[in-house]
């Protein structure tokens, strides 16, 4: 399979097929990151499309020979942050009206036909996602990138636009908070039951 940088270069040269290949290569990982960040598959899908639209519009800013993946992740990060800010403003407006009920964000709101098949114990995965959703966005992102998506601390810092030191602290604090959250009953017995693998 072609390297992302080769695909990006061909795409910048006007090859639409290369963009589709790049999308096929990068979009699944990026969508995984966005789903973990938002806990909302429909929103993650939307952010993914927005991210690639931004990549398309900013393709002249690409530097030939460079790996486009961290850059695309950074654009996704930025898109997520902007969406969160918009969402916060929207929540304030709803709160002022005092008429509409609170709608919990997350996977619980998605339709079942959109749900991807879960490997392993679905209860454990849901518990982990629940715990992840309780973390502040910065800690969640640090945990997702460094512990779940396999990025190095330096890569994660570059994506999130922070320093390596700050990323280490966020990942550590986030992971410690997750351990505490997953250690709470009744999540603990469920975690132990499926944790033998």
């Amino acid at each position: 399979m072609a390297e992302p940088r080769d695909l990006m270069q061909r795409y910048c040269d006007g090859d639409a097929g290369a963009f589709r290949e790049l999308y096929a290569l990068v979009a699944p990982r990026l969508l995984g990151y966005l789903v973990k960040m938002t806990r909302d598959r429909a929103l993650a899908d939307d952010l993914l499309q927005q991210t690639f639209l931004k990549v398309h519009r900013a393709r002249a800013a690409y530097v030939r020979g460079a790996d486009p993946v961290p850059w695309i992740y950074s654009i996704a990060h930025r898109t997520f942050i902007d969406e969160t800010r918009r969402h916060r403003r929207a929540v304030v407006r709803v709160g002022e009206a005092e008429e509409l009920p609170e709608v919990p964000a997350g996977l619980t709101g998605e339709s079942d036909d959109r749900r991807d098949e879960v490997r392993g114990d679905p209860e454990l995965v849901t518990a982990a996602l629940d715990a992840l959703a309780e973390l502040p966005a910065q800690q969640r992102e640090a945990v997702v990138l460094t512990k779940l998506d396999g990025k190095s601390v330096a890569e994660a810092a570059e994506i999130a636009g922070t320093t390596v030191g700050a990323m280490k602290v966020r990942a550590h604090r986030g992971y410690e908070a997750l351990r505490r959250l997953l250690g709470k009953p009744p999540a603990r017995p469920a975690a132990r039951a499926g944790g033998g693998s």
């Binding site: 910048c12 995984g32 690639f52």
Partner: protein
């Protein structure tokens, strides 16, 4: 660094092992864009840097000629003139380079280092001005008045900084998803340092407080102004 540590919590371990979800088909908006895809000229950081330096230096030299060269120039120690001039030049080139040229293999500019370089340049040039400020027979000494009435020098310094900041911003427009404020600060500090170089060759005031706080202060003020005003133009939104 490995993704999973041996002691990763059960549940998180399962979560990390989930296969990536299947992405949706491209949106109609993206399909429409792809239907009329044209080749684009991608960013060439080194070429942009060379252009940025050349344009800024030509503009700075023009300003020195327009403002006139300081009248005590031939009375000052050549070693100080040259070494301090080189320090100003370094304060211009280093932050600008870090702000525009990414490390090899990366798309994103080195915003952290650009930010650090801005702070170092500002502190170093203020310190250098306060400590080293030789005077000649035709130099001017006005003490603290040189700080109070330093707005002329400040204005000339900021005028000089405008060109590197604007040209750099044009080169980087809509290019950076993160770190745009630090990149803008880097461009501002570089521009401010070029302003300091212009003042070094133009202003005959030889008081340490004026050279340090006003000439050196141009770097800090230009960096702060650029960091406040330019990020929206640089940011990829």
């Amino acid at each position: 660094m490995s993704a999973l540590e041996p002691g990763l919590e059960p549940g998180l371990d399962d979560l990390a092992r989930q296969p990536p979800p299947k992405p949706p088909a491209l949106s109609p908006a993206l399909e429409a864009e792809l239907a009329q895809l044209t080749p684009v000229a991608t960013r060439r950081p080194l070429r942009q840097l060379a252009l940025l330096i050349a344009i800024s230096l030509i503009y700075g030299a023009g300003l020195v000629v327009m403002l006139t060269v300081r009248r005590d120039l031939h009375e000052l120690p050549m070693g100080w003139l040259v070494s301090t001039g080189l320090a100003w030049l370094l304060g211009f080139v280093v932050p600008i380079t870090l702000a525009t040229v990414p490390r090899a293999g990366s798309v994103m500019a080195r915003w952290r280092l650009a930010g650090i370089a801005s702070v170092v340049a500002a502190v170093a040039m203020v310190g250098l001005g306060l400590v080293l400020h030789p005077a000649g027979e035709h130099s001017v000494s006005i003490g603290w008045d040189g700080v109070v009435r330093g707005y002329g020098c400040l204005a000339h310094g900021l005028e000089t900084a405008i060109v590197p900041v604007v040209v750099g911003t044009i080169f980087l427009r809509r290019a950076l998803p993160v770190g745009s404020r630090w990149i803008a600060a880097g461009l501002g500090a570089g521009g401010g340092s070029l302003g300091g170089l212009v003042l070094h060759l133009h202003c005959p005031v030889a008081d340490g407080v004026h050279v340090g706080l006003v000439h050196g202060g141009v770097i800090a003020i230009a960096a702060l102004l650029a960091a406040a005003l330019m990020p929206r133009a640089i940011e990829l939104r």
